[in-house]
């Protein structure tokens, strides 16, 4: 088999048969001697390691080396010096250069294709008299202009530099451009046009030139250049001042928001406050006035618009009536941003699954809630079908359970307190002399005022458990209720 493969190779004149044969060729001869016991290994040892010893096979196989680079053949390139003619030239100049002998001697000079003549417009005397008459420009001078434009390939700065029409009035760059482009426009407009109107309009638009605008622009550029160093310094200083004021304003606003949140709770209508706060706007107006006073041309400096754009306040858009109608029609339910998110940051709320945002019970009472749920035969952590209604119900349930557990805890505590107090009362009745002082002391040391208040309540209405539970819930867990409502409305 190996021999036949070699034959095929030699027939196909593939040079490196041994190297190309590779591992598949080498393995087979290596396997055959390994089946027999090699010389120099005792029979016992050989029977232990057996014929499948990989180390021996590896030793017997020839190491495979990287293929040697082919240095001998194929690297030779013949170069020769050849005369060539340049198709871009009008004369028959022959220069000599070195090229690979393999290149085609008849081929066109490769650089000739870069010789692109510019498109030029010419006009007849008749066309000139009909369309192109201008009291500023004679036909001769227009001809001259077109020649120069052609010669310098519409490089306008050069054209303006080299333009010197004898006995002509001195022309500005804008004069030249205006004349050239207006002539081109008129020619395109008045000549028969082969293509459609759109392409003609497009061509005309490439010849559009607004001289007045260009002149104004140049004037602005000049005035920008003619600022004195003091003016530039003042401008810089003002710019830095604006930045500083803006930063101060932002900081102030943030502080105020923090303060409001601390005082008035989480969603105390902060968006409204942001909206009616005209601070940054007022500042930019002020600085604008300042800048105007400083130097009039500063208004045109590029720094001004950027400063303005930065200070534009981010206004929160309230939902319009149209939006609400649209939402109702398409069953879109909008949820407010979570009140936990900082109101200053216009945080982007990514899409999320409703069930992910279900409230989690507090860690302290979580086991009790779990217990209560399991008593009801429910899973407290997972909803099988987390629709909006289900989620709301689940939340309500969770909330109720939390309230229940809390109430239970309070009740337990109060009962304990009652027991203690009863015990004390018993002691006081038995020992009336020291009772007063001891009672006061117990009260003062008896923990926070809230439990005290609760205990008073309990004293007032010890029977009415439900009512008391309600009141407890309503006073203390406003936070979690707010949270729920804001999460999924």
């Amino acid at each position: 088999m190996a021999a036949s493969a070699a034959d095929v190779r030699s027939a196909l004149s593939i040079p490196d048969a041994t190297l190309a044969a590779g591992p598949s060729q080498q393995k087979k001869p290596a396997a055959t001697p390994a089946a027999r016991k090699p010389e120099g290994i005792s029979r016992e040892l050989y029977s232990l390691i057996g014929p499948s010893a990989p180390s021996i096979a590896a030793q017997l196989a020839k190491p495979r080396l990287k293929q040697k680079p082919n240095l001998t053949g194929g690297g030779k390139v013949k170069w020769e010096e050849r005369p060539f003619k340049n198709a871009a030239r009008k004369d028959g100049l022959e220069l000599r250069h070195w090229v690979k002998a393999s290149t085609d001697p008849a081929a066109e000079y490769p650089f000739a294709k870069y010789n692109v003549p510019p498109v030029s417009y010419t006009y007849s005397q008749d066309e000139f008299t009909r369309f192109l008459e201008d009291k500023e420009w004679t036909k001769e001078e227009t001809d001259y202009l077109f020649n120069v434009v052609q010669e310098y390939d519409t490089r306008w700065y050069i054209i303006h530099d080299r333009y010197s029409y004898p006995e002509g009035t001195p022309r500005t760059l804008e004069d030249l451009k205006d004349r050239y482009y207006s002539v081109c426009r008129k020619l395109v407009r008045n000549r028969p046009w082969a293509g459609d109107e759109a392409s003609r309009g497009q061509l005309i638009s490439t010849f559009q030139f607004d001289k007045e605008r260009e002149l104004t622009r140049k004037k602005y550029l000049l005035s920008l250049e003619n600022r004195t160093p003091e003016q530039i310094a003042e401008e810089e200083a003002l710019y830095i001042e604006i930045k500083r004021l803006e930063q101060n304003e932002r900081k102030f606003k943030r502080d105020r928001e923090d303060l409001l949140r601390t005082i008035a709770g989480i969603d105390s209508g902060l968006p409204d406050i942001v909206e009616d706060d005209g601070g940054p706007l007022g500042i930019t107006v002020d600085t604008k006035k300042l800048r105007k006073k400083g130097s009039i041309m500063d208004m045109d400096s590029p720094a001004t618009p950027s400063a303005l754009s930065i200070s534009t306040p981010l206004i929160k858009r309230p939902p319009t009536a149209k939006n609400t109608a649209y939402d109702a029609q398409h069953c879109i339910i909008r949820t407010d941003l979570s009140a936990n998110a900082p109101a200053t940051k216009a945080a982007h709320q990514a899409a999320y699954i409703r069930s992910f945002k279900l409230p989690v019970p507090k860690a302290a009472i979580a086991p009790k809630i779990a217990q209560a749920f399991s008593e009801l035969g429910l899973s407290h952590s997972r909803l099988v079908m987390p629709t909006r209604e289900n989620c709301a119900q689940f939340e309500a349930l969770l909330e109720a359970t939390t309230a229940l557990v809390e109430t239970k805890r309070v009740v337990d505590k109060v009962e304990y307190d009652i027991q203690v107090l009863k015990g004390q009362l018993g002691m006081r009745t038995s020992q009336p002399a020291e009772g007063e002082d001891g009672g006061e002391g117990e009260d003062a040391g008896g923990g926070d005022s809230k439990t005290n208040g609760d205990s008073m309540e309990v004293d007032d209405a010890p029977e009415n458990e439900d009512e008391r539970a309600q009141s407890v819930v309503s006073t203390r867990s406003g936070r979690s209720r707010k949270h729920v409502s804001s999460c999924d409305v």
Binding site: R89, L93, H97, A112, N115, Y157, I158, L173, I232
Partner: protein, 436 residues
Amino acid sequence: MVNYGGDEVSALVVDIGSSSLRAGYAGDDTPKAIIPTSYGYLPAPPDADISMLDVTEGKDPVNTPKFAKIYIGQNGPSIWREGMEIGNPVIDGLIQDFNPIPPLIEHALKEVMRCTPSEHPTLVTEPTWNTTANRERMAEIMFEEFNVPAFYIANTGVLNAFASGKGSALVIDVGQSMASVTPVVDGFVLRKGLVYTALPKLVHAHARHTLASPTQSRRAIELLPHQLISNKMPIEPGQSPRYTLREDRMQGTTESWRNWAEAREVDEWIQSVAGVLDQGWNDQYAASRPAKQYEFPTGYNTYFGADRFHVGEQFFWHSPQLASNPSLPKNIPALITESLRACDPELRQVLMGNVVLTGGGSLFSGFTDRLSTELSRTFPHVRCTKIHAPGNPVERRYGGWLGGSILASLGTFHQLWISKEEWQEHGKAIIGQRCK
């Protein structure tokens, strides 16, 4: 080959400046032949037979009627010869005397490069303020005397911009005799913005005056070249020199050779000692910089302190009493301002962002730093002023040649050559049409 746009046709590039003539093959990064433009000659006796005395071979005697013998190259003017005068064809950057030009070019191409000009297209450079007559004469010399197959004459301002890889640039070229500011846009010179003065000459004169006039601490310095001194003794700094003159040579030394040799001494002193402060003149700062020691060929040596910075100050600032003189060459900031004022306001920002500093004179110690200070001071509204100043002295001194080398090796350039055929057909007019 096509990738980088190069196609070498073994063109020659010849760049003639005030101090040296550079020649080499296009595509090289350094000229092969650099010879001084100054040449030594023995004046022809008025009634002698010129063709008999003219020993330089291959030269048309009609074009060199002035010289009995001409000495060119490294062993030309620098070797003392009895009665040898020194001439320089280039005055204020322009070739004023075309008689020695063919021998100079011939020496560079045939003696130094050992090539045959008739086989190579040749690109010659010209200063921006060159006259039409001059460039036509140059074309005539190349075509008629050297028989070049093709010729082109290119502007040094444009070539310097090309050498730094820019199509648009403000080229500040400080040479040996002229300082020029050339706005280049898209490979064309804006002629209205071109300004040039003989500022380096003023600096040179100032330096010479500084050396030749005595101060409180030192005596006036004799600027004797080493060729005229037979021996000297080593002495302490500031002591009067002890040397013996070569009395045998004093007799045969011509005035022009003496001038040339002294100018060389001054130039060497400028190159090794003189400098310019990078922040403008400040007595205290100048005094705080270390003094430099310099020894003259007479053996006299001394330390130069603040004096050496006064020399460079001439490039950038003229004292008010000097400035009232209307013939005073303008300083560099004034040149730049004048040049920019002539340009379109839109171009100014572009040009200031592409300042190319070139020429041997710009290698003056501290020149680049001072220039950037002056630019930011004079043009505070320009946001980014960028100075391109090659650090390699060869690139800085021979920027014009280097740009020519780049240009003449471009494949797209070969359509611009003026061929001999065109020259014969159209005559001198073709030069102005082709080389814009």
